[in-house]
Structures are given as C-alpha cells and as structure tokens.
C-alpha cells in the first residue's frame, strides 16, 4: 500500500495549521478591539470561507494563483514556478478553508478573557507585549489550542478547494480525501475502505483532543472571583 496520501495530508495540514494559528490569533486579537460597526463587517468577511462552498473558494483561488491569475502569473514570471497542481498548492486551499475555525475559537477565547487582568497589568506598568504573551495567551490557552486542533482537522478533511487547485496526481498531490474519491471512481472498494478507516481513526483522535481541551477550558484555575466583576 502506498502511504504517500497520508504523508502528504499530514504535511499539508500541519503547515496550513501553522499559518492559520498565527493568522487567526492575529486577526482575533485585533478584531476584538475594533469598534462594533467595523467588527461586524470584518468578521463577516473573515468567516465567509466557513459558509461558502469550498468549490467557490477553489474558484477564487484559481483566479488568483492560477497560471493566468495576477499572483500566479507574476510568481511564474519572476521565480519560475507554478502555484497550482503541486503538493504545496493544497496549503493555500486548506489555509483559507480552516482559517475561520481558528479565528472564531481564538476570538471567543479573547472575548471571554477577563479584561480587568489586562487593565490592572497596564496600571502596574507592565508592557502590552508582556501582558499579551504572559497573561492573555496563557489564560486563553485552551481555547486557542482547541481552535488549532479544529483547524488541523478541517485542513485534513478538505476536499473541494484542494482538488481544484492541486488536483489528483498520485505520488505528487494526492491526499487522503482525494484518494478515497479516486478509489471509489475506480471501484477499488477494498483500498478505499482502508483509507476511510485511517480517516476515522484520525478524526476520533482529533475530536477526543478537542473535548479534553474544552473540558479543561470550562474550569480555568483561579478565576473563582470573576463573577464579582461589575461595571459602574
């Protein structure tokens, strides 16, 4: 059995999770602070990939990074390589698709963060950078990790946009989801079942991880006094 699809899937999902992790946190942190009107607008745009059909995302991506698209043609001209139909093409698709999951869970974590911790840190003279890394992030840790695991799972399961920009080339761009589809078309049920089983195992592990993180998230240590928080 050729294990390339598993290797490629994990590779693509890990790299795209790396990007969504930082992009999602960055977006969530800044958007939590923007005024309400702007917040709704930006939030809508950033969440769109969650509700749009993946083929629509794939279509947009092809128009941008395809050999005739503005980005794709420039890269081809200047650097001499294609952005589509290669193994890393899938990263563009999965990053786009999994971004909203990371962004929304991180934003939820930031919004439920007790802002008096931030304010008290500021009045104590602690820098905003220190407060972000040493106070906000540790206290939002579970939510942010849950978001990362979810976006990893989504990236692993992506099919629509990925087939459009990376296609299915055995040994080069094949991932688990496209392999299952191909095997079904060929009528190779035995092998398809094997990949389906592998997929189930991965999904089970991911969901268990999310559940564990969320249970811990419900009882953060040492915030027992927070319900006395009130605004005058």
């Amino acid at each position: 059995m050729d294990w390339f699809p598993l290797y490629n899937s994990l590779r693509v999902a890990l790299i795209s999770t790396f990007f969504t992790f930082f992009l999602g946190i960055f977006a969530a942190h800044y958007i939590a602070k923007t005024p309400r009107f702007l917040k709704g607008l930006i939030d809508g745009v950033l969440t769109l990939p969650l509700v749009l059909p993946p083929t629509v995302i794939g279509f947009f991506l092809l128009k941008m990074i395809g050999p005739l698209g503005p980005v794709g043609s420039t890269v081809l001209e200047v650097f001499g390589f294609k952005l589509t139909m290669t193994w890393y093409s899938a990263i563009f698709a999965t990053t786009m698709i999994s971004f909203p999951l990371m962004y929304r869970t991180a934003r939820g974590a930031f919004e439920s963060f007790d802002s008096t911790l931030l304010y008290s840190g500021q009045t104590l003279g602690l820098s905003d950078t220190f407060l972000f890394w040493r106070v906000i992030m540790p206290n939002c840790k579970q939510g942010i990790l849950a978001g990362a695991v979810l976006s990893f799972a989504r990236a692993l399961g992506e099919f629509g946009a990925t087939t459009m920009v990376a296609g299915y080339i055995p040994g080069r761009t094949a991932i688990i989801s496209t392999t299952v589809y191909q095997l079904w078309r060929e009528g190779n049920d035995a092998l398809a079942y094997k990949w389906v089983f592998i997929n189930l195992v991965i999904s089970f592990i991911v969901l268990t991880a999310v559940n564990m993180l969320e249970n811990r998230y419900k009882q953060p240590v040492g915030t027992a006094k927070n319900h006395f928080d009130h605004e005058d």
Binding site: Y119, K225, D232
Partner: protein
C-alpha cells in the same frame, strides 16, 4: 503628593462630570451603583479616555484635552486595585509580584524587595500558591502588595471589600486600614457603603448620577449633608419637601406641618431630612415644639431595635416621602399596632436642611 481631577465623559444618556481634589489623605468617592465611581477611577488610570478635562497627579499632567496630553496607563504610575483584585490566575503569588518588581526595576535586589513585600503583607509561606488557592483576604493582600510594588504616586481602591463574605470583611477591613495608614500618598477609596467610608476615610466626595459634589470632611458629611443625594447616601431615612417660613420655621409639605429648625435654612433648600434614630415618641399628654400627631403604619422588630413607620394625621400615606421612619432601641408600649395613633417629636436641632443639588 496630590491629585486633581476634572473630567467629562458621556455614554449615551449617562454623563459623567466629576471634579475633585485630594491631598495626602484618604478620599472616599461615595455613590450608589451605576453612579460613575468606577468609571472615574478608570479615567484616572488611563483605561478609559474622558471626552474632556484635566487630570493632574503629583504635579504631572496625566490627561489634558486642551493640550492633547493623554499618557498611557503604564506611564501614569497610578495604582488601581480592582474589585475582583485582578491577580494573574496563571501565575503564583511570587510570579505575580516579580512581574511588577522586575518591570519597575529601580531596585537592584529583586529578591530582597520580594521578601520585604511578602513580609509586610503577611504573605510569607504563600509564595508558591496560585490566586485560586487563596482566600479573599489573602488575594486582596497580594493585590495590594503587587500594586505597591509598582511604586504608585496615588492609589485607588475600587470597592475593595465588596467581594468578601460579611464575616471575613471585618478582619480584612482592619488589615486594609493598617496598610492604608502606612501609605503616605493620596488614596481614592470607592465605595457605596457609608459605614465603611465613615470608619476608613477622612474626606468624602459624593458622586450622584455622574455628578460629583463638593468634597467634605466625614464628620460634616454625616452631621450636615448639604444635599438630598448626600443625605440619602449618608443613610438618612426621612425627608420632606419644604417651604421656608419666617423665624427659623419651615413648612414640611409632605408631612403637612410647620416645624422649628435650629440650623440655618438656606434660601435654596428644597428639603429637610431627619435621621430615623433622632425622632422621639411622645405620650398623648406630653407637649413640646415640633410635635406631630401620627398614625402607625407598621411596626417591625429588628435584631437590636424596633422600626416604627408612621404617617402624620393630615398627610397622604401613599406618597413616598410622607412616611416617617423611627428607629427605637426598644418599644415601651408592646401593644402598638398598625392603625393606632401616636405622637412624635422631631427635635429642632435634628432637622437637616437639604439642597436639591450642589451648584
């Protein structure tokens, strides 16, 4: 060290408009919840930006809308103790304190500074505990120690005792009073509890629906509150609208009777107030100035006193201010029932003339 504050900020219908000044003393900001006390502290700390005004601490302008000065919270060196103490839950007591000691790092000996703090706030032995493992009183001491570690020019406490159980509160208040007594700078103490303010503070600034009144001493505030809002906050229970008559008499509109009044009644006084425990019951035959014949509405037995609500014979009992509440140590006549008639005496020296609002 001193602080001067004059700020305006509006949120929809609510307008915060405060002005006060404090020297090296404990100034209470007293007001009902939602009156803008906490918001005032947040403006001073730099967390909320006022629409206009000026904040000066210790000679340094922290905020000035005309000169476009608005220092960041980090640059203000103003300590703010939050109601929930806002300790970092992911850090131990030691880490909470060290984060501040290292940043404010004038001292070359962070370890020594830490030990001094731990000792003077009775935290020795709790270094490795997380805030969630501490009692409310201990959390407050950590928060105070952490605030003092930042070497603030002024300190501000936002309802520091309200998050505690009532039986813990007395002990913590004692410790807090001791700590505040040692601090030599300006302290702003936000509270809605008059008893607490009376015990801890020497001066009071009443904040009523976003507007601050004139700063007064605690004694002045409790003995002769200048306005209706102050009197309400000082715990006075009985009020009547008045019309000023000649020779130190007023006509109490809500009680439908004329009263002699020892205190000078300003021309713009719109109300009088009388404390519940200053009103005396009278026998039918007794006679004196300011005798009012009343009807008993309710008799309630409190733990150590009896509260009798009466309404003057001629007044309309449904109107809020027409009822008079008396607090007596005990009741001579056990058979007193609602509907009975009863005479009361309001001594002229106990009547406090009140203005509607401070100018």
């Amino acid at each position: 060290m001193s602080v001067y504050v004059k700020i305006k900020k509006s949120f929809g219908n609510f307008v915060l408009d405060t002005e006060f000044e404090a020297e090296n003393e404990i100034l209470a900001l007293l007001g009902a919840s939602g009156s803008g006390k906490s918001m005032t502290l947040k403006c001073i700390a730099g967390i909320v930006r006022p629409d206009m005004g000026r904040i000066v601490a210790d000679g340094v302008t922290l905020f000035d809308s005309d000169k476009k000065i608005n220092l960041s919270p980090q640059e203000r060196h103003v300590g703010l103790l939050f109601q929930n103490y806002a300790l970092f839950p992911n850090m131990t007591v030691e880490q909470n304190l060290c984060a501040v000691i290292k940043t404010c790092g004038k001292g070359k000996y962070p370890k020594e500074k830490l030990d001094i703090l731990l000792e003077s706030y009775y935290l020795t032995g709790l270094e490795k505990h997380y805030p969630g493992q501490l009692s409310g009183g201990q959390q407050q001491r950590v928060a105070l120690a952490r605030m003092m570690a930042s070497d603030p020019k002024i300190i501000m406490l936002d309802e520091p005792l309200s998050a505690l159980d009532s039986y813990l509160r007395w002990q913590v208040e004692k410790e807090l009073t001791e700590i505040l007594g040692k601090y030599k700078g300006t302290t702003l103490y936000v509270s809605h509890n008059r008893d607490e303010v009376y015990r801890i503070c020497r001066k009071v600034c009443v904040i009523n629906e976003g507007h601050s009144e004139k700063v007064s001493s605690v004694d002045e505030f409790f003995n002769a509150p200048p306005t209706l809002a102050s009197a309400l906050l000082s715990g006075c229970k009985n009020y009547s609208k008045i019309k000023k008559l000649l020779n130190g008499t007023v006509y109490a509109i809500d009680w439908k009777t004329s009263l002699n009044c020892s205190a000078h009644v300003p021309d713009d006084a719109g109300y009088i107030g009388v404390r519940a425990h200053k009103i005396l019951p009278l026998g039918d035959k007794d006679n004196c100035v300011n005798k009012i014949s009343c009807r008993v509405l309710e008799v309630r037995h409190d733990l150590f006193s009896v509260i009798v609500t009466v309404v003057p014979e001629d007044a309309d009992p449904r109107k809020e201010f027409s009822q008079i509440r008396m607090e007596l140590p005990s009741l001579e006549d056990d058979s007193l029932r609602p509907g009975d008639s009863m005479a009361i005496n309001i001594p002229p020296e106990m009547i406090m003339p009140l203005r509607k609002r401070m100018d």
